[in-house]
């Protein structure tokens, strides 16, 4: 039997999650998995991958592709080789995430109340009040438990120095948690023997924790809150996740048209008449939530929702206006927030960031475009960015013009050599770059299930892990 390991790459200028440095010694936490993997044939792995595809299709964990034939929904590619995190490292990461989300939540509350961080001169006022994600409608509004970021997805990467860095905080409607759960289910189905040999921390209780959190932030005085999940509908690319979470929590999945506002309360239309709704886990952006308050052309939202929210008679998770804290222009200040609100030393590192709105930063960035990553402050999904080392001269010059015209809209970071994890691709097993999105829940307590969504850039050398740009996913193991 030929081994699948014959194409292991020689050490390169990035951190390999499985192998330590040039000698190629297998890291301790991968040892058991590695010996199992060495005994697998490429044919059997390919067979398992095909089986996974089949099951994902049947379960319907698919993306609707617009304008395509109804039968051809796309899968996000799933890789059968897990990303493994040792217990001690997870512990450090978890503490860092907890600290970070606490500070971010304190920050949002502060912004919509006393704004002490601005008055203290830590963050310049225009960075907040000129931000499109700042919602003056929420100024002075008290939200249940002072919680804004009920569900946060924090993107973490490992650079060539082996350190973990926070790349991005996602505080609006972060998605991907269903893939974390389904990938684990799939791995347990395909390779039960692996779970007998390795003590992998379970993640399946995530929906329970989420429900507990959502129930804990119901408007005051409500003993048995009605929780719903608000989706833009079945043609949204994350629809599977919305339906999945609603089902797993045993709550209704609603669309805007199923809800209405009457007498300062939100109701859903049921077969037995109107039923009051107390907590809305919304998977719709602020802009589309309420046509009376935000975009008037939105037919996804609920007219009058904002006013009920402001009156404290319904809780939205995440709170309206949370986006002010996950903007790329605010990101450089997160370590300062941690010091300001918690009086603690940040446990997780930020990627060094140049703010192009600052003259001296801009000059530095313009001089080194070919080696930096430049991102739009409001961009997401890997769009609107320049990866200097991978760009052509012409692309760099075009970007230079855009950047010089609107420097306020951009930040720049060094091109990180994201760590790589062995991945089963066409040519066999080869290293591919990965990131990690753990999900942090904030209710009465801050909780994190051990793991997250590992995204992998399947194209050789690519650093873009977004599923919209050819990324796949892996199961993420935290060893106990």
């Amino acid at each position: 039997m030929s081994s699948v390991l014959h194409t292991r790459a020689a050490s390169a200028a990035f951190y390999d999650e499985m192998h330590a440095d040039g000698a190629g010694a297998v890291r301790a936490h991968y040892r058991d998995f590695h010996s199992w993997l060495a005994a697998q044939s490429p044919e059997s792995l390919a067979g398992k991958r095909a089986e996974a595809d089949l099951i994902f299709h049947r379960v319907g964990i698919t993306f609707a592709v617009y304008g395509d034939d109804a039968g051809t929904e796309r899968l996000i590619p799933f890789d059968v080789i897990p990303r493994i995190i040792p217990a001690a490292e997870w512990k450090r990461l978890e503490a860092g995430l907890r600290q970070r989300v606490k500070a971010l939540n304190r920050f949002i509350h502060d912004i919509y109340h006393g704004q002490s961080i601005v008055r203290a001169g830590v963050i310049p006022p225009e960075q907040i009040f000129c931000n499109a994600q700042y919602r003056p409608e929420m100024q002075g509004v008290d939200v249940a438990g002072d919680i804004y970021t009920h569900v946060a997805g924090i993107d973490v990467v490992r650079a060539d120095d082996g350190e973990l860095y926070v790349l991005e905080d996602n505080l609006r409607v972060p998605s991907g948690v269903s893939y974390m759960l389904e990938n684990r289910k799939m791995m347990m189905r395909l390779f039960p023997e692996l779970f007998a040999r390795n003590k992998v921390a379970p993640v399946a209780h995530y929906p329970d924790l989420l429900l507990e959190d959502l129930r804990s932030v119901a408007p005051s005085g409500i003993r048995e809150p009605t929780v719903v999940v608000l989706t833009p509908g079945m043609y949204n690319s994350a629809y599977f996740e919305h339906a999945f979470l609603a089902q797993q929590m045993g709550v209704e999945l609603v669309e805007g048209k199923d809800l209405f506002v009457d007498d300062e309360q939100v109701f859903m239309r049921t077969t037995q008449g109107p039923h009051r709704v107390d907590v809305i886990y919304r998977r719709i952006d602020d802009d589309f939530l309420d046509p009376l308050a935000f975009r008037p052309d939105s037919n996804l939202g609920v007219p009058g929702l904002l006013s009920v929210c402001r009156a404290g008679r319904v809780t939205l998770a995440n709170a309206i206006g949370s986006g002010v804290a996950d903007d790329k222009s605010i990101y450089p200040y997160v370590p300062d927030m941690i010091k300001f609100y918690l009086d603690e030393k940040p446990l997780l590192k930020n990627v060094p960031t140049w703010q192009c709105r600052k003259k001296e930063h801009l000059a530095h960035v313009l001089a080194r475009l070919h080696e930096l990553v430049v991102k739009e402050t409001h961009g997401a999904g890997g769009y609107g960015m320049l990866i200097g080392p991978a760009a052509s001269k012409a692309e760099i010059e075009a970007f230079r013009a855009r950047l010089s015209a609107r420097p306020d809209s951009y930040i720049a970071q060094p091109t990180l050599a994201l760590s790589a994890c062995p991945t089963f691709v066409e040519s066999g097993i080869a290293p591919r770059h990965i990131d990690l999105r753990p999900f942090v829940l904030s209710g009465k307590n801050v909780t994190i299930v051990p793991g997250g969504l590992t995204r992998v850039a399947l194209r050789q050398g690519s650093l873009v892990v977004n599923s919209s740009q050819g990324g796949g996913t892996k199961d993420t193991w935290v060893l106990e």
Binding site: A70, A243, F244, R269
Partner: protein
């Protein structure tokens, strides 16, 4: 339960049932068309199918002449025909997808697998249509069975069941209407032909009707007697123990309707009860005397009315309160 959700469940079940009954009708036509008969009566069979589904104009717009192959294709795999098996299974799946969180994993995966497998199955229609129809029938059995076997007995199940039985009542009534008509037109009316040849043709046609609703063995068991049109009509209309009869469908609709009762549904329940009573206390000779066609047309109207009223009472409430 959300009105919108109930609506999707109701239609998910209706489309699944419709796909099954279309497969049944096509299959029985195929079998019957193998019998020795004149070209005219063969054509009548295929016209009958289009008549049942009220699709003659749509068919004529697409095809120059009536050809069995074309009718099969039009009714099985044509996505532009909203009543084709292809369209019904797609609609069932889209409705299921919209409420997949309300369904058990098994129900969703069954309906989704049916849809995913359909494409490959349709490629085999030409070679062996009967096998395809058999597959559709069994997938429908499976959907229903998984629903009953895994779903909580709550509104979600009741609205699905309502959809199943209203659709089945409608479809059985249509099958009976068209067949009865077709056979009567051929000069083999209720009383049956005297001569042996007439009787034997009669037998095969009515046996085919029975088979189309899986009632051939049931007929034998219930009547232990020769097959006559009147008894076939009685079995399919009035026998409450016959799972595809109108009487059973209406009984089931009444029961499920009572389980989801709300402030608006009183009148709908009354009308359903009235229809149930008509079937419960009805007699086949009285119905035949009135004229089966007229009776069935009236029945279809009343079933449609129930469907409309259920929509209004539960599924698409107009007012906000």
């Amino acid at each position: 339960m959300l009105s919108q959700t109930a609506d999707h469940l109701f239609w998910m079940a209706r489309y699944t049932e419709r796909a099954e009954n279309t497969a049944r009708m096509l299959d029985v036509n195929l079998q019957t068309s193998l019998l020795p008969q004149s070209e005219a009566s063969a054509e009548l069979l295929w016209r009958g199918i289009l008549g049942i589904c009220e699709l003659q104009p749509q068919y004529d717009a697409r095809f120059p002449a009536l050809a069995p192959r074309d009718v099969l294709d039009f009714m099985a795999s044509d996505p532009s025909n909203p009543s084709s098996i292809h369209s019904c299974l797609n609609a069932a799946r889209e409705n299921a997808r919209a409420v997949r969180g309300t369904l058990t994993t098994e129900v969703w995966e069954t309906i989704n697998s049916t849809w995913l497998e359909l494409k490959a199955r349709l490629r085999g229609v030409e070679a062996d249509p009967s096998q395809f129809f058999e597959w559709v029938k069994y997938r429908s059995h499976l959907s229903r069975g998984v629903m009953i076997g895994t779903m909580l007995k709550d509104e979600a199940l009741y609205f699905s069941r309502l959809g199943t039985f209203l659709e089945r009542a409608d479809n059985t009534a249509r099958i009976l209407d068209v067949r009865y008509h077709a056979l009567a037109d051929q000069g083999t009316p209720d009383t049956g032909a005297d001569d042996a040849v007439g009787r034997s043709i009669d037998f095969y046609h009515w046996a085919a009707v029975l088979r189309s609703v899986s009632a051939f063995e049931v007929y034998r068991k219930v009547y232990s007697n020769v097959i006559t049109p009147a008894r076939v009509a009685e079995l399919l209309i009035l026998r409450e123990d016959m799972p595809r009869s109108l009487a059973n469908c209406v009984n089931e609709a009444v029961t499920n309707l009572a389980s989801v009762r709300n402030d608006l549904s009183r009148e709908t329940e009354r009308r359903a009860g009235l229809l149930q009573a008509d079937l419960h206390y009805g007699r086949i000779d009285a119905i035949l005397q009135q004229g089966l066609h007229a009776w069935l047309v009236n029945f279809l109207q009343r079933v449609n009315d129930l469907g409309d009223r259920i929509s209004r009472d539960f599924l698409v409430p107009l007012a906000t309160a």
